[in-house]
Symmetry: D2
Subunit: 336 residues, 4 copies
Amino acid sequence: MLIVMRRDATTEQIEAVIRAIENRGFAARPIPGGDRISIGVLYNQGAVDAAIFQELPGVKETIPVTRPYKLVSREFQRHDTRIPIGDLVIGGDRLLIIGGPCAVESEDQVMTIAEHVRNAGGDILRGGAFKPRTSPYAFQGLGEAGLKILAKARDAFGLPVITEVLDLACFDMVEAYADIIQIGTRNMQNFSLLRRAGESRKPVMLKRGMSATVDEWLMAAEYIMTEGNPNVILCERGVRTFVRHSRNTLDLSAIPVVRRESHLPVFVDPSHACGFRDQVMPLARASAAVNAHGMMIEVHHAPEMAKCDGGQSLLPGQFEILCRQARAIHEIAREG
Amino acid sequence: MLIVMRRDATTEQIEAVIRAIENRGFAARPIPGGDRISIGVLYNQGAVDAAIFQELPGVKETIPVTRPYKLVSREFQRHDTRIPIGDLVIGGDRLLIIGGPCAVESEDQVMTIAEHVRNAGGDILRGGAFKPRTSPYAFQGLGEAGLKILAKARDAFGLPVITEVLDLACFDMVEAYADIIQIGTRNMQNFSLLRRAGESRKPVMLKRGMSATVDEWLMAAEYIMTEGNPNVILCERGVRTFVRHSRNTLDLSAIPVVRRESHLPVFVDPSHACGFRDQVMPLARASAAVNAHGMMIEVHHAPEMAKCDGGQSLLPGQFEILCRQARAIHEIAREG
Amino acid sequence: MLIVMRRDATTEQIEAVIRAIENRGFAARPIPGGDRISIGVLYNQGAVDAAIFQELPGVKETIPVTRPYKLVSREFQRHDTRIPIGDLVIGGDRLLIIGGPCAVESEDQVMTIAEHVRNAGGDILRGGAFKPRTSPYAFQGLGEAGLKILAKARDAFGLPVITEVLDLACFDMVEAYADIIQIGTRNMQNFSLLRRAGESRKPVMLKRGMSATVDEWLMAAEYIMTEGNPNVILCERGVRTFVRHSRNTLDLSAIPVVRRESHLPVFVDPSHACGFRDQVMPLARASAAVNAHGMMIEVHHAPEMAKCDGGQSLLPGQFEILCRQARAIHEIAREG
Amino acid sequence: MLIVMRRDATTEQIEAVIRAIENRGFAARPIPGGDRISIGVLYNQGAVDAAIFQELPGVKETIPVTRPYKLVSREFQRHDTRIPIGDLVIGGDRLLIIGGPCAVESEDQVMTIAEHVRNAGGDILRGGAFKPRTSPYAFQGLGEAGLKILAKARDAFGLPVITEVLDLACFDMVEAYADIIQIGTRNMQNFSLLRRAGESRKPVMLKRGMSATVDEWLMAAEYIMTEGNPNVILCERGVRTFVRHSRNTLDLSAIPVVRRESHLPVFVDPSHACGFRDQVMPLARASAAVNAHGMMIEVHHAPEMAKCDGGQSLLPGQFEILCRQARAIHEIAREG
């Protein structure tokens, strides 16, 4: 952290700031500048609470310098993390495409869609058995019955399965059925859930919080990694902005930033980002164009009857076109 | 919901939309307009997924009309909810002021601050025993030892105690010690936690999510109320915006909106909203000026040594001035 | 507009709302619903000020229904607007790529970069002679001398030229030199400037305001079109959000929305959206992937010496790769 | 500016960064830290373009340190700027209240409202003769006829007049009639207009841009001051956020920040911030509570017939109550 002193700060004020830094167990390094002095704070573990120094007499401003994450950082591990799932490798050269319904509604529904996903060239099957819903009156998911349906589809079509875990109470159950455990946007800072995910031996997909900075998102991944699970997949899904023509605003510049800052693989979920089918195809192609490691797409064969988010689900035919377009764009984007 | 058709929508398209509405079990009511037709969707329970109809041929736009909440609505209960806590009434005529440290650090610390809070005219003592921290390397709270310290302060100074619950695992414990259970901003849509809070007989303070709309916030309160707990207190604590001079942007217009839409009492937390001590006093006065039912303020006698959020804590002397100013402003604001 | 009444609204209140609508010269159409009545407002010209009705007794809410724009709307003109510039057609099948420096600094600089742009396959040359700068102490552009340099480069390399106009005072001069007149993000709602642009016979590129909705952006284009200039090109350049890893957040879902709502061509400026060179390439590829009609890219052969925005300028070699990648992606995306 | 190097930056990379700094005419000061080196950039005039250094090999991050404004800064002038207008002093001890209609509609309308404003204890009369409207089809103001009406009301009731200037073309005319010239939110970065206002001898009220940071707002004031006009009044009017229950979100923490950073007086406009009458009163009281120097309130005796923003205008009786409440709160807030 850097503490910038006021131009008219007195020697006593400067010394008091240095003492306050040292009282906290850090080292203070004064840096004389053109017309004012700044003081560096060194040897701190994790983030320093800037506000403590902000209020001392003579202080103009405090500026954080180093980022608080470690294990997730590319400075800590230079090479990309690669996570094998069956025959697939997450974080490798192939663009991985996850497809499936928002919610598991019935065995017929899942089997029908899973077949479409596999035939279109999808790699992984998605489907929610526990659904986080804004309203207590909305469909909340089938629970374990839904997980069993997903397992059946996996066996039938050879697609690994990703599904969301909502809380500590259902974690063991979800973990038993899923190949990849998803932590949703509303739980990105559910720290107990992150710690539990860190104890799992299954890969975890961590969606970005609706208004999380990339730093906060990486710190949430750090919670999982500190408990011993190195297999974290990040997933950008749009952030909340003033914009009203789409549900969220997909922040695609997060992909190159994450790839530079971290060694973890990063996916994109364009379906939840926009909320409207006619925006999903272009945003999905754009996700391939920015060099994401994969994408997650909602697919439904009868979206007008879906119990959840039907309006953003692609039809099977659209999904097939998308897989083809996205893989072609991935080849172009990969060169740099 | 209102479905607006394109100007050139055909009769077949209009009829298909009507059928889609009726297939879902709703009633459809066509509304001829100046240059296009709209179709109302009636008798829906809870929210209708607009996106389903958005994508049908000939549809220009879908517009939600009624709000999805019920129990929290002032249309459902006209009179203000009043929640007795000992001799106090939350939601009544007295402006209630909660004061105390961000985190419980030691018995000495809490007893010292609690005495200041009581002497300054504060009504309720706050203090966190379980702390949600962005970094896994930051101080996470004293746990049950912290709760015991809070209970001791309550006995010594006669102040009811509010403290945060982080997850299902520690809920019973927090519930046993607290007079008011706080659900933090990161947990506003932790639906399992909301349901558990709904089973409690203790009042629950529900902080607004960092990027939640008022509708989503009220729906989260609805989760608590549907489980049988009518004693919900809302707390505005700032929302995330592009602004960088404060941690969040305090959304004070939410107070008159919540008071019009809902019968539940609504507080303000200016400390977390801004993150800087010199902004807390003005924002706290402003909270009284907009007719909030109460406010929650961080107080620390030695903020430069605080383990958490010291920079936004008021000194005891400032807290005393604030209590006096806020109560005087409350008297002025109450008349209308 | 739709006026939703409270559940307990009285007949007198409903009649008073109807009278208020009719007093304004509109037609009122009551729509009985499940548990409350709504009232449609018909035959209004342009937008109705919702707030007028919002405050009448018994009114719960007012909801805008129709969009206020006309000439820019695809409901008004179904076919795409195509704008010929020399041998090029803006809004046609070819992805148009604009390249060049942020600011015109010298003849050498512009001639060097223009040659790179042409050789890499760029279609149009950009360069600012009048620069809008946050600070009055920053480089403000070369003025007419800069315009003359651009004209020289056009003659030498056969590239049409786009350059920004800042105010009414310099409009005639910019108009005389430019092939396309650019109106910048800070001037999107400079209505006098928009009207003057509407009187021009040169095509106008209208950048989206930093926090403008798509509706406001289209209304700004409507200002230009109402004065008689049909040749408006829209340009998405990122919106301001809470995000800090890029200068703005590029809103790519605006592209399909604009293409559905309007017949005007729409470009993307990824350089200003992100502000960092290593994000420009992926976002530019993404712009082709969402089917924009073109893109505008900053290019500089010596960005570390640029007087303005050097850090976001591509090197000539990068621009060449980008042109190739973007055109290949455009071919893939065009099919649907 | 501070340039943070990667942990593994080589000596060559560090030296290249130092050379790049010195090539720009700045001084470089290396600052060894715990596990990485940082390099300070000194003696820069105005802001340094961080992006130039961001992209050099071995650089992790660049962090701006000093603020680019000078004349507006409290470091430049310690005492508050006070601006006399007739018998009033803007920036002094009295809370100044501006009242009046959004738009001048007729002589009768303005004379009626001005009398109410004066009788309620308002200090200054507002009214727009040139209106910036999102739609070209909306009422655009009466122009000079409106200015003449305002002048008549000034003579009749002894209230100084504030009115908005939209562009260079109408500046002389507005300047001739107005006591205070208002620059609206959409023109905050209309730099030609700011410069022209800097040449005026009339005080200028500069509204904050819809998505402007406080730094950008102060830089806009710097544009006016560099041209020789020291009499700038700042006015907070809400910023654009994801929130939908009010038109904008009033950023009241900007008031203490501006008062600390700058010597210029700062007002609040709660009417445009919220857009709804029932939010104006609480937000106006809150504006007094945060120690703004004044406020600007829309007042209309027949708001349901107003041509512009009627729904946010207070009735004369409400304005009278507000003046009384705001002055009482001001007395309380002034003590600190």
